[in-house]
Symmetry: C2
Subunit: 384 residues, 2 copies
């Protein structure tokens, strides 16, 4: 059984295999959506001016402990500094209260110790005197909030802006039937949907995603204040057909690495057959349908963009320059995310070998085809 809340967390600390040192993929997505973030924060600022409060409450859901959480806070502070100053003219100075949320086993200690960097990031980008006019950094306060975003996290109508990046493809749990019947080999030793996955299993994944995203929307709509907004970025797929999703390759090759360990007797077959990833990469249509069916939010914007598997490959074309190195980079980036989940089920001793084989599989695959991640980003406005 895969216990998500207990075993899902990014690799802690700031060592070589840590998430903090291996989260460039997630950073690139944040840079991609930065203009949307700026637009949304500016709109929320404007909505606040007409209200009685002078504190903007901002929550990052699934923040992890890496530099991206710090980057998010610094980005919002800078937007308020730049774009909202003129709007606020004679209004009381705006204060920002951030909540950085993740599951209780996240490395909050490392996160809190890195918050000092926010100051430097804000200062570096904005000299005090800006075009002859003095820029005043809005006072900001940063708290950590442990808990699953599939539960209520905040008092009613207390948050003005929700942000979540690279998290909502994580399910609250494995589809129940798949979890209970995992010993009956419903997914044939695969760890995620692949081309050999039965349609009934695909449906289980889809229904769990629908249930989870609907719950997420309901909870956030209770917590969001009127006029509030949400910017959500998650891994998805380009193709309508879930059997041909973009994540199939990523986890398919990891599944093959696991299967080779089973074939050599290093991992018990039953262990592999009772393991499925609690993750689902939806299509843009699936996501939009769930949002519309909830009736709780207007979709201000929704789009899909692509991101190279190798976080350090910033090229645009369809050619992979160094597939061996890219294989290693992809493996590192995935290990920083998946390690605790795999370690709790298969034991720590297999990890080095598993991700070494995975790196080879990825390299071989990239030689044939430069596959990419598909990332869905959407901006939702509260209907309330």
């Amino acid at each position: 059984m895969v216990e998500v809340e207990r075993n899902l967390r990014m690799v802690a600390g700031d060592g070589e295999t840590s998430y903090a040192k291996n989260s460039r993929l997630q950073e690139k997505a944040m840079l991609e959506v930065k203009p949307m973030l700026a637009k949304a924060i500016t709109e929320v600022c404007m909505a606040l001016i007409s209200g009685p409060t002078s504190t903007m409450v901002i929550a990052d859901l699934g923040c992890s402990s890496g530099p991206n959480a710090v980057l998010f806070v610094a980005s919002v502070v800078r937007v308020v500094e730049e774009h909202c100053k003129s709007l606020l003219g004679c209004h009381e100075p705006l204060e920002l209260l951030f909540f950085l949320n993740d599951l209780p086993k996240n490395d909050f200690n490392n996160l809190f110790r890195s918050l000092e960097q926010i100051k430097n990031m804000v200062d570096i980008h904005h000299p005090c005197n800006y075009g002859g006019e003095t820029i005043v950094t809005p006072p900001y306060y940063v708290a950590g909030l442990p808990g699953s975003f599939y539960t209520r996290l905040f008092p009613c109508h207390s948050v003005h802006f929700f942000h979540s990046s690279y998290c909502l493809m994580w399910l609250s749990q494995l589809p129940e039937e798949l979890d209970i019947k995992s010993t009956t080999h419903l997914n044939e030793g695969n760890i995620y949907i692949t081309r050999t996955t039965a349609p009934s299993v695909v449906k289980m994944y889809q229904q769990q995603f629908q249930k989870d995203l609907s719950l997420f929307l309901k909870l956030r709509s209770e917590e969001l204040s009127p006029g509030g907004q949400m910017l959500l970025t998650l891994l998805g797929r380009k193709n309508r057909d879930a059997l041909h999703g973009n994540l199939n390759h990523v986890y398919g090759l990891l599944g093959q690495a696991m299967q080779s360990l089973v074939a050599e007797g290093i991992v018990d077959k039953e262990k592999l057959y009772s393991f499925n990833l609690p993750i689902y990469g939806p299509s843009i249509d699936e996501v939009a349908t769930i949002v519309r069916q909830s009736g709780l939010f207007n979709i201000g914007h929704i789009q899909l963009f692509e991101s190279n598997w190798d976080p350090y490959d910033d090229s645009e074309g369809d050619h992979v320059v160094d597939s061996i190195q890219s294989g290693v980079n992809v493996a590192r980036s995935l290990r920083a995310v998946m390690e605790p989940l795999f370690a709790s089920h298969f034991g720590e001793q297999i990890l080095d070998e598993l991700f070494k084989r995975y790196a080879c599989n990825v390299a071989k695959h990239l030689e044939k085809e430069k596959t990419k991640y598909s990332v869905i980003v959407m901006l939702l406005n509260s209907k309330g």
Copy 2:
């Protein structure tokens, strides 16, 4: 130089020498002030009913990572459950938002993992059906907030109740002159005020405390919402004369243990002479004067109570039953608080020997005299 923000933290984790396992002294103080807590929270509830908000924001300043932070949250939840329900009759249900604050190096990971216990504590004390009437636990949310309480931590007027227990005797820094001139042996190898401390050094400590508490009051008055309250518990002294404070014995005997290590060449003399504790135990008069001079708060209540050195000695009399065991208990309880500070200045290798000698010194002292801690508790109401 003693860098408070970098080196002051309770011992992390939940091992044998951790603060979590050695904080019964602090727990006893919380039980002592529980009736005052209940009274204050009830009053804050009443004040909230007439306002526009239905969320009570509560902050525990200097929460550390032990069970006491959890005990505090559970206590407040129960008070609201018991006392405030009748007051809230037709009002919107009250929600509680807690901020647990400590310095960034506090073990927040351990704290967050222990929050699950709150639920059990609330449930154990209150069956669902209470005198024929169903008791509904108010929804509560718990965040961690890293930072020094000698800086601004919250937006203006955003907190309804501040709590701080066993923290405000810690200074923001050593008195500057004492820190800079520490190599000139201003305090003669003592680590705190003792009978041989020069009056000029005593004055430095007093002025630093005055400066720090005044700053604390100013900052909190900016953050406290109208009608808000603060319950502050800190170590102090019974005697008016700072040379005869209750903490002199506690740290005097620790200083003697250090001096014996110097005498045997285990610790360098200069190391000891450049070390003073950034702590001060004030008299009730000193505290009351600073609060009155600030002009920011009314003193709703102020009192001093005593607590046996040995956290596990619950006896009332003046006799110590087992001074050897009490010595060990006192040493453990102090080590859980002081270890990181001593380790950063003297190195970890001396700790076992230091606290062994300290335990002996305490045992010998307790044979002659059952000395006690003096604890000051006060309830402050915002004047604003």
